[in-house]
Structure formats: structure tokens, C-alpha cells
Amino acid sequence: MANTQVSASAADVSPTRSRKEKPRRQNLAGWMFVGPVIFGVLAFQIVPVIASLGVSMTNWTGLNEPDFLGLGNFVALFTTDTRFYSTLLNTAIFTVAMVVLSIAIGLALAVLCNQRIRGVGVFRTLYYSPAITNVVAIGFVWFWLYEPNNGLINSVLRGVGITGPAWLSDPSTALIAVIIVALWQGVGYPMVILLAGLQSIDKSLLEAATVDGASNWRRFWRVTFPLLTPSIFFLTIMQFISSFQVFGIIYVMTSGGPNNATSVLIFEIYQVAFAQGRLGYASAMGWVLFLIVGLVTVFQWKMEKRWVHYDN
């Protein structure tokens, strides 16, 4: 990430002012600039995060006098709450599918859009447009494309002699159906990042490989792909964090159903906190989410040097 080292060499001070006055004025000016944001981060994020840890150890509903339960909520989540297991499993399936497929499809689209063809910008815009479309509108359209009898998808399938499934109302296909929609909406971002990665590759490296007689296929996997691994690494982190916190598409399309087949972590927390009012229990779920996201991200950074290629 960003370089946190601050150069102390910026001694661009006018010689007329006294030595004591300068640092104080500088400190004041600096804090006038960054103060509002630091205040915001403390008031709206850091302090609430700490408060959330406290709340997660109580049975608070926002109205009652809370009892201290210690780790009781966490123990309950992992021992008695069977629904929590299926939620974690669904979230994991959704996340793995999204990370792998969105990057793979995004890479394919980026390679296609990296050709020297007139009007290629139109295609890039098209592939990206679902990403800027709001999730409720997306939910409406797909809900209706998936309609089992007269929906477009099953009508097309019937045309080629296949009886389509009930998609969203069948527990065995609902999660797949949701993943398809999320992919359709989600591949634009990896595509844009990887396209920028492709365009920054030094052409002379590819030409050298061609001179050496490498086929297109070989050239892609031996030269292009290794040079893209920093972008792919960045995407695995970003896609993991965002997919693990999917909410909108589930809220709009399935509400976690049928029969919990699509219940995911954020949707469950939303239900437990704001529909059932169990703020303590929901906060515990939030912390489990935080820990999983943190641990997996740290693990991804640890694995970085195993497969990510840097020039120097």
C-alpha cells in the first residue's frame, strides 16, 4: 500500500520567522488540514469498532439493560447455531466462486479488449456497464429472466429441448443463479484493472518472445501472465473482501431463501440486528466476519511471494 515514510527534508521555510514559532504554526496548519478526516475516522469507525467488541459480549437489544456474557455469543455461534454454519458455508462458496471466476473471466475479457480493433472502447464500456447499475434494478430484471415458466432463460432452454430448473425457487440451484448474476455485474472491475495491467506491459518483452519463436499461447503464459500477477494478486484481495460481504443481490433476489440456500453472512447480520433487534449477537457475528476477513487477507499477503512476480 502507500508509503508511510514521510520525508523530513522539507525545510522550505522562510528565514524571517523565528525558530520557535514555526513548528507550532506548522502543526496547527497540518492538523487543520487532516483534522476533519481523522476526527471522522475516530468518531465513525475506530470508536464504534471498539464499542462493537464490547456489545458483542452482551445480550443487548438496544432497549434492555445488557447482561455481560463474556464469549457466550461466540460459543453459541459455533456450537448451537446450526443456521450460522450453513450461512458461513454459503458465503464461502459464493466467495470462492466469485474470486476465481470473476478474475478468470475478467482476464479473458481484458485480453479480448486489448486488441487493436476500432471501436473496442464500446465493448469495454458494455462489459463495465452492469457494474454501475444499481442492484435493485438488476435484481428485478434477473428475477424475471429466471422465471421458471415464461422467463427468457427457460424459454430459450425449452427451444433447444432442455427443461430448465426453477432457478431461484429451487434450493439446489438458487446459489448458482445468484452467483451468475453477481458475476455478470462483477467482472467489469477485474477487467478494467487487468486491461490497465496488460497495457503497461513493455512491448519489447513480447517481441523478444516472438523472435525466440514462442507461440501466442506460450507467450501469454510465459511472459504476459507472470507480468500480470501483481494485478491478479491485488484483485484476489479486493474480490475476496467484497464478495465475502455480499448483501444487495441477496436482499433483492432471494432474502436468503429458499430454505436458507442463499443466506450469507452480511444478510444474516442485517436480519439479526435490524429485524430481530439482537444487537449483541449480531455484533459477535460482525467480529467473526472481521476476523475471517483479516486472517484470510494476512494469509494472502503471506503467500504473495510464492506466486507473484515483481520486476525488481
Binding site: V6, S14, V49, L126, Y127, W144, G248, Y270
Partner: protein
């Protein structure tokens, strides 16, 4: 090339289908076999949907303006401070900012909700913009990078002319980072316009709701009239699409910069 066209067709289909349905008479929407071109173009669907959506559209516009201007203001202040000013506690402040970028919002949302209930902000628009504009972590990073790229001579010349620090920042430095401001502004607009979670938990009154929630409400009211729902859905996605076409360069830049090592 052929692959590109076929894939583009598949990608565009859901949105084209939405527009097609939005122009159809009600009985044609779920006709079997499905038709793509409506038998008559029923533009009244749009006037009917637009009538219902107008108040929500205005709420969405208001919040988008507050979010974009507020966030750009505070993010560029902080970005400039971290890029060019020296002060006590700078490293700690920056590390704090880096650390919060990792925290899932769900973790602080419940205490935030309680805080807003305590100060009477529930069912007002404040929770949908005040926390956003005061926590512009990504925007601060991006603008900090851009300010670092501006030649120091510009600032020194302004200082010699007797400009204050704020004056230098506002009149000399800010115009130098316009592309980054556009990129952050464009991404902020999208986030504000498409936000579903915020309005869902912080607002109760229908009159305060934004476009995405208006669609949800619309669904309850006109559930059987798919053509009207599709017209409403199309109307909600038009403003971001127009903005995207106009400012595509800045979007791509913003998205790409989010992927670069700062």
C-alpha cells in the same frame, strides 16, 4: 472480433430486455414465446413510473451532491496535508487511516446506528452523508498521490507572493489535481446513487427514501405490472450511465489508480 460481439450480446441482453419490457403493454411482458420488439411502444409506462419516482429522484440527487462535494472537500484537505505539510503525529494519523481501510463496515455499523439514534439522526438524511464525507479513506490516498506529483516550485512561488497555506492549497494546488478530483467524484457519485444498505437501515419514512429503495417500494405496490417496474428500473440506471459515458476516462483512471501501489 466475433467473440467480442457474441459476448457483448450476452452481456447486454439483460439490460436490453429490461428496456424492451419497459415499453411493452402489460399482457405482453410474460408472453410465451417471448418477443423482443414490443407490438406497440407504450411510452406511458415511463410517464407513469416517472411520476411515482420524482420525489425519490430528488432525494437521491440531494444526497449525491452532498456526498460528492463534501467528500472532495475533506479528502483534498487531508490529501494535501499528508502530501505536503509537516506536523506532529502525521505518521500515526496516516497509519490510523490505513488501518481503517481494512475494517468491514458491518463491524462499526451497529454502534453507529446506536450513536445516530442517540443524537436523533435516525430517519434523517444526515447518516447517509456526514459519516461518508468525514471518512474518505480511498479519496485521501488518491489525492495524496496526486498532490505529491505537483512540482514544489508552484507552492514556493505562491508563498513568496504572500499567499496563506490555505490560499496556496485552494487557488494553486487544487486546480493541479483536477483529474484525480474527477475520478474520486465519479466513484463517490456511484457509491451514493447506488447505496442500498444505508437508506435501508437509517430511514423509515417513505418521503425520505432514495431511488434504489423506491424501486423496492414500487415492487410492493405494482408487483404484477412488470412493464411499469422495468420502466422504473430503467429510469434509476440512466443517470449513472450518462455520467459514465461522459466521464469514462476519469472512471477508468479512478478504478485503475485504486489498483496501483500508492
Amino acid at each position: 472480433m466475433i467473440t467480442l460481439i457474441v459476448l457483448a450480446g450476452v452481456f447486454a441482453m439483460p439490460l436490453l430486455w429490461m428496456v424492451s419490457a419497459s415499453l411493452k403493454p402489460e399482457n405482453e411482458v410474460l408472453a410465451s414465446p417471448p418477443t423482443f420488439i414490443p407490438s406497440v411502444f407504450q411510452w406511458e409506462n415511463y410517464t407513469a413510473a416517472a411520476d411515482g419516482l420524482l420525489p425519490f429522484f430528488l432525494n437521491s440527487v440531494k444526497l449525491a451532491v452532498l456526498n460528492v462535494t463534501g467528500l472532495l472537500f475533506f479528502a483534498s484537505l487531508a490529501g494535501y496535508g499528508f502530501a505536503r505539510l509537516n506536523f506532529v503525529g502525521k505518521n500515526i494519523a496516516f497509519a490510523l487511516l490505513l488501518a481503517t481501510a481494512m475494517i468491514p463496515s458491518m463491524v462499526y455499523l451497529i454502534p453507529q446506528y446506536m450513536l445516530f439514534r442517540e443524537i436523533g439522526w435516525i430517519d434523517t438524511h444526515f447518516p447517509l452523508w456526514v459519516p461518508n464525507v468525514l471518512t474518505p479513506v480511498f479519496g485521501t490516498f488518491l489525492l495524496r498521490q496526486s498532490f505529491r506529483g505537483v512540482p514544489r516550485e508552484l507552492e514556493e512561488a505562491a508563498k513568496l507572493d504572500g499567499a496563506s497555506i490555505f490560499g496556496t492549497f485552494w487557488r494553486i494546488m487544487l486546480p493541479q489535481v483536477k483529474p484525480a478530483l474527477a475520478a474520486v467524484g465519479a466513484l463517490t457519485f456511484m457509491a451514493s446513487w447506488n447505496d442500498l444498505f444505508g437508506p435501508l437501515i437509517f430511514l423509515n419514512s417513505t418521503r425520505l427514501q432514495t431511488m434504489p429503495i423506491a424501486l423496492v417500494l414500487f415492487q410492493g405496490e405494482f408487483f404484477t405490472q412488470t412493464n411499469l417496474m422495468m420502466a422504473a428500473a430503467t429510469l434509476t440506471i440512466i443517470p449513472p450511465l450518462i455520467l459514465f459515458f461522459l466521464a469514462q476516462r476519469y472512471f477508468v483512471q479512478g478504478i485503475t489508480m485504486s489498483g496501483l501501489k500508492g
